[in-house]
């Protein structure tokens, strides 16, 4: 029924872009949940946390080289990021062009603006976060510096979150992430066509709120525990 030409058109359509956004978004939700699990290992102490970090590199050996799976995950995440951002900016610019004359009086849907500007903020945060803990591995804590801190994941995490301004960045980022995911998780389900009844629609909304709540709480426990001295 559909020729290859129309399939290409459909893929580039607004809905095609949304499906790309939904699919890549689900990759991020899954990754973020795994990431949160790893972070919570900090509650079990230095050894548990660092062993987990090392396991991420040795997992799959000898079938995979050292750090192999980690690189597979990084490539998938990078491609997802490119797809997610491409779809988002394309649709953002489309939406801007779709109404060039604005209303004088309008009750705006704020969630759309939150998703877009919140997404940009999260992108900047991811750059900061990767520089801090993956690429440069620098400590922002003047009292805890040196190779021992940089080479020891647990030490670096504790040193970083003892600094209030750094923790504040993470708190703000997690609140932005919660807002993004509470709508995004629901929106992905709607875009993938999983909400064809009003019951399924309400369930999708609840899943969105639940994912957001779990993630904001799970991610904020370790940094706040460190800031308030429960983890040293």
């Amino acid at each position: 029924m559909t020729s290859s030409r129309s399939a290409t058109t459909a893929r580039r359509s607004t809905i095609g872009l949304k499906i790309l956004m939904a699919g890549t978004g689900i990759v991020f939700v899954a990754y973020v949940l795994l990431h949160m699990y790893g972070n919570l290992k900090a509650l079990a102490g230095e050894e548990a946390f660092n062993t987990y970090a090392e396991h991420l590199r040795t997992i799959g050996e000898p079938m995979l080289p050292y750090g192999g799976l980690l690189w597979v995950i990084r490539v998938v995440l990078l491609l997802s990021l490119v797809g997610h951002a491409y779809a988002a900016f394309s649709l953002w610019s489309r939406a801007g062009n779709a109404r060039r004359t604005k209303y004088a009086a309008v009750k705006t849907a704020m969630r759309t603006a939150w998703m877009r500007w919140g997404g940009v903020f999260l992108l900047l945060f991811v750059v900061w976060h990767l520089l801090q803990f993956t690429i440069l591995k620098f400590s922002v804590n003047p009292d805890r510096q040196g190779v021992n801190v940089q080479q020891n994941p647990y030490e670096l995490v504790v040193a970083s979150f003892q600094v209030p301004w750094n923790t504040l960045i993470y708190v703000l980022a997690m609140l932005a992430l919660a807002l993004h995911l509470s709508h995004g998780t629901f929106s992905a389900q709607q875009t993938l066509g999983w909400t064809m009844t009003s019951h399924a629609y309400r369930r999708a909304k609840m899943v969105g709120h639940a994912v957001a709540a779990v993630i904001v709480v799970g991610f904020l426990i370790p940094p706040l525990s460190i800031l308030f001295g429960l983890i040293k």
Partner: protein, 245 residues
Amino acid sequence: MNLTLKIWRQAGPRHRGELKTYKVKDISPDMSFLEMLDVLNEQLNARGEEPIAFDSDCREGICGMCGLMISGEAHGPEKTTTCQLHMRSFTDGEVITIEPWRANAFPVIKDLVVDRGAFDRIIQAGGYVSVNTGAAPDAHATPVPKPNADRAFVAAECIGCGACVAACPNASAMLFMGAKVTHLSELPQGQPERAARVVSMVEQHDEEGFGGCTNVGACSQACPKGIPQDVISTLNKDLRAALRG
């Protein structure tokens, strides 16, 4: 009731428009919103001024012809069409801003009248069933399960007024298109062309310059017929199914 109206005046498609302020006095709370505008237009006629152009036809909330952005809400504060909105929904002395639907795909023709031909072209792209219908068939010649029939009816309530586009932060027509696609996808007669229909309609939708959907639901809240969000889910699912071939 005495009201202050700020109304968008635009002489033609290529003219620059602006909000102009008018005062109306002794408006009955039982008048419809359009009757209130009729009163204003009679006053303008009497003064020799150009009356305000706005769309209306049946004035009983079933044709989809009327539609105004009233103080930032499509069809105003009630969940109904502009013609079925009554002045009792407003307060004495209120300042009401009246604008046309705003979307590039709905260009202003004059004052509050917009060209919604884009909707017609989306329907022409595939929002139909190409079979010879002939004489009315027996009622149960083609069995349709009750839940499917009910959902098709809910979707078929769409009158194509364009409030969904007007209310959408992205000026997207997904609720309209979702209603039309769901209406046919729920019925046996809609199945043979199901995949081709959605691809063509979405292609036309994008070509007309409507935006994409961000699933915020402003459209369903504005819809005088209460078309639910789940029709957009069906639209999305049908397009995804068509993509798989």
